[in-house]
């Protein structure tokens, strides 16, 4: 069983409440930070841990914190990005729902390190019941002297507020989130200036994901060096993976980044294999925006090595043969699933969620959706496949924010790895309309872990 640092206490009844959290070691890391460490020492500890942002980009957290401008007399802000909206990703919801004090404690330590006295949790609007849970936790933390003025006699002041969004995936992008928090449309800002210099209300701001901020607590508890020893290479510590699609045990799992993709899919500890004895066809390992991989490239890299659940191994080979850890949204497709149809569903998502600010994204996402609809509905032409490839190339890298890339990559990877399935749709329009997807030839033979379990 892998090491657990975030969910190790998730099974304890009542851990959502202050008293139980405190009795089980809660706020010890905050106490350590406030009473025996300077803000710079906290940042140093996070740097030593090698923690990478858990929202998707994977940028080193301590380094991001060290970029924060500190002009005299200007407030600084920490914003917790809880706008979890990427298809396949539902891990932060779990943390907020079941371990709200872990997040509050992480926010307290991080705010102390950054010198922020006012912190906002920006949560997607659809998670409408979670703000009540967070606000109750905030009230209890206040009552017990972990928020407010002169926290635990340290001289540090902090207030945390929760703000609900109102339904816009783009608000997960940090500058769009800031715009939304300022009461505007979630249109991303051109960078530079980066939020670390001019963020919320033009003040220096750090935006971090829920899981990233929660991870600061175990880092302080066990020390940055110890945290860095967990995992492989630059994939240090633990990572939450939200697994879904065609698997026996969908859910949120904490992995210590030393296991293989095959073990994650087939072992009983994690996804428990594919339902009904079906075979694995493909997987999107890091949330809908990262490239889909066919089974053969998912389980082994192009070099024939076992693919591991680490940032580096998932990315091995770059986009032609690899994918990304992303936000850890792990979507599994069995042999009966249609890649064209799935790609259409993602194209429809990105078209719906484009903020409309940049023409390549606003127009291109809709164009891709329409072409994919034609192919899926049996009205496609062979030239449409090349057209799709051309459109996604014209979106990628040509927009203010990464939503354009996020919309382009799933289409590119689907064509790259499953071109013959697109061609089959074009050549078999009637069967495509009857939803007889036909092709199952991408499914690998039963992998080793599953075969061993079956014996």
């Amino acid at each position: 069983m892998g090491r657990k640092l975030l969910l190790d206490k998730a099974h304890i009844e009542g851990i959502r409440y202050y008293d139980v959290y405190r009795q089980n070691g809660g706020y010890a890391a905050a106490e350590k930070a406030l009473k025996s460490m300077s803000p710079d020492q906290v940042t140093e500890e996070v740097k030593k841990s090698g923690l990478r942002g858990r929202g998707g980009a994977g940028f080193p957290t301590g380094l991001k914190w060290s970029f924060l401008a500190k002009p005299e007399g200007v407030p600084r802000y920490l914003v917790c990005n809880a706008d979890e909206s990427e298809p396949g990703t539902f891990k932060d919801r779990y943390l907020m729902e079941f371990l709200p004090h872990l997040l509050i404690e992480g926010l307290l330590i991080s705010s102390y390190a950054l010198g922020a006295n006012r912190t906002y949790i920006y949560i997607r609007g659809e998670y409408a019941w979670i703000p009540d849970i967070l606000e109750e936790a905030i009230r209890d933390a206040h009552k017990n002297g972990w928020l407010g003025k002169n926290i635990q006699g340290s001289g540090f002041d902090l207030d945390i507020y929760v703000q609900r969004g109102a339904g816009a995936y783009i608000c997960g992008e940090e500058t769009a989130l800031i715009e939304s928090l300022e009461g505007k449309r979630g249109n991303p800002r051109i960078k530079p200036p980066f939020p670390a210099v001019k963020g919320l209300w033009q003040c220096p701001t750090v935006v971090n994901n829920v899981e990233t901020l929660a991870a600061v607590v175990p880092i302080l508890n066990i020390g940055g060096d110890e945290y860095a020893k967990i995992g492989i290479g630059k994939s240090t510590g633990t990572k939450l993976i939200s697994a879904c699609g065609n698997i026996n045990k969908p859910g949120v799992y904490e992995i210590d980044m030393t296991i293989s993709v095959e073990e994650f899919i087939y072992s009983e500890e994690y996804c428990g294999g594919i339902p009904n004895g079906k075979r694995l066809k493909a997987c999107i390992p890091g949330g809908s925006s990262v490239p889909i991989l066919p089974a053969n490239l998912l389980l082994k890299t192009a070099k024939g090595e076992q693919r591991m659940m680490t940032y580096e191994s998932l990315n091995d080979g770059g986009f032609p043969t690899g994918s990304m850890m992303g936000s850890g949204g792990f979507i599994v497709l069995d042999e009966d699933q249609c890649v064209v149809r799935h790609t259409l569903s993602l194209a429809r998502f990105y078209h719906h969620e484009s903020c409309g600010q940049c023409s390549p994204c606003r127009e291109g996402t809709g164009w891709m959706k329409r072409v994919l609809m034609n192919i899926e509905n049996g009205k496609g032409k062979m030239s449409d496949i090349d057209l799709l490839w051309d459109i996604q190339r014209k979106i990628e890298g040509n927009t203010i924010c990464p939503l354009g890339d996020a919309a382009a990559w799933p289409v590119a990877a689907a064509i790259r790895h499953f071109r013959d399935e697109f061609e089959w749709h074009v050549n078999n329009p009637e069967e495509a309309q009857r939803r007889n997807f036909g092709l199952a030839h991408y499914a690998d033979p039963l992998p080793v872990v599953a075969a061993a379990a079956a014996v």
Binding site: F90, R124, G125, S345
Partner: protein, 165 residues
């Protein structure tokens, strides 16, 4: 003015504005629009948006541009129970198409339509972050997950019972 928050709701508005630094009350717009939608029949009329603008001392157009951007604000009346069914990738892999088709058949309405008795509106939506519990829908403040036809029947019956029909 016909649109007017209760005293309790006005206090809530003041509390929301106090979350932000002085002079940054525009930041309260999104939460106050949520409050307005909940308070005034589940949707935002032009009159409601103008009222919110006056409360926050911003222009009406600033409210309109926000209200039209975010998918959770309804700009026309909706039924008492709004079924927002997720149709994105992971839900689709788990049969959301069938659930949507069943709701349409059961209620006799299409996407975006409301039943003649004003009880139910169906709206397909994009990813709600419940991919491990698919297929699912949002109903008011809560999620209804692992949907089956039987569960849909049960939800509809519960709504009808609650509405006294």
């Amino acid at each position: 003015m016909a649109v007017q928050f209760s005293e309790e709701k006005l206090n809530k508005v003041k509390e929301i504005i106090a979350r932000y630094p002085e002079g940054k009350q525009k930041s309260a717009l999104i939460p106050v629009l949520h409050l307005a939608q909940e308070s005034f029949g589940g949707w935002l009329s032009a009159e409601t948006m103008d009222y919110v603008a006056s409360l926050l001392q911003i222009t009406s157009i600033e409210v309109y541009e926000v209200a039209t951007f975010y998918s959770m604000y309804n700009l026309k009346p909706v039924g008492k129970y709004l079924f927002e069914v997720c149709q994105t990738g992971p839900c689709m892999l788990n049969g959301s198409d069938n659930i949507i088709a069943y709701i349409k058949e059961k209620l006799g309405i299409g996407n975006g339509e409301t039943t003649p008795d004003g009880l139910f509106t169906l709206k397909t939506v994009e990813c709600l972050g419940a991919c491990g519990y698919a297929p699912m829908m949002q109903l008011g403040k809560f999620y209804k997950e692992h949907l089956t036809k039987e569960k849909v029947d049960q939800i509809i019956a519960e709504c009808r019972a609650q509405a006294g029909n």
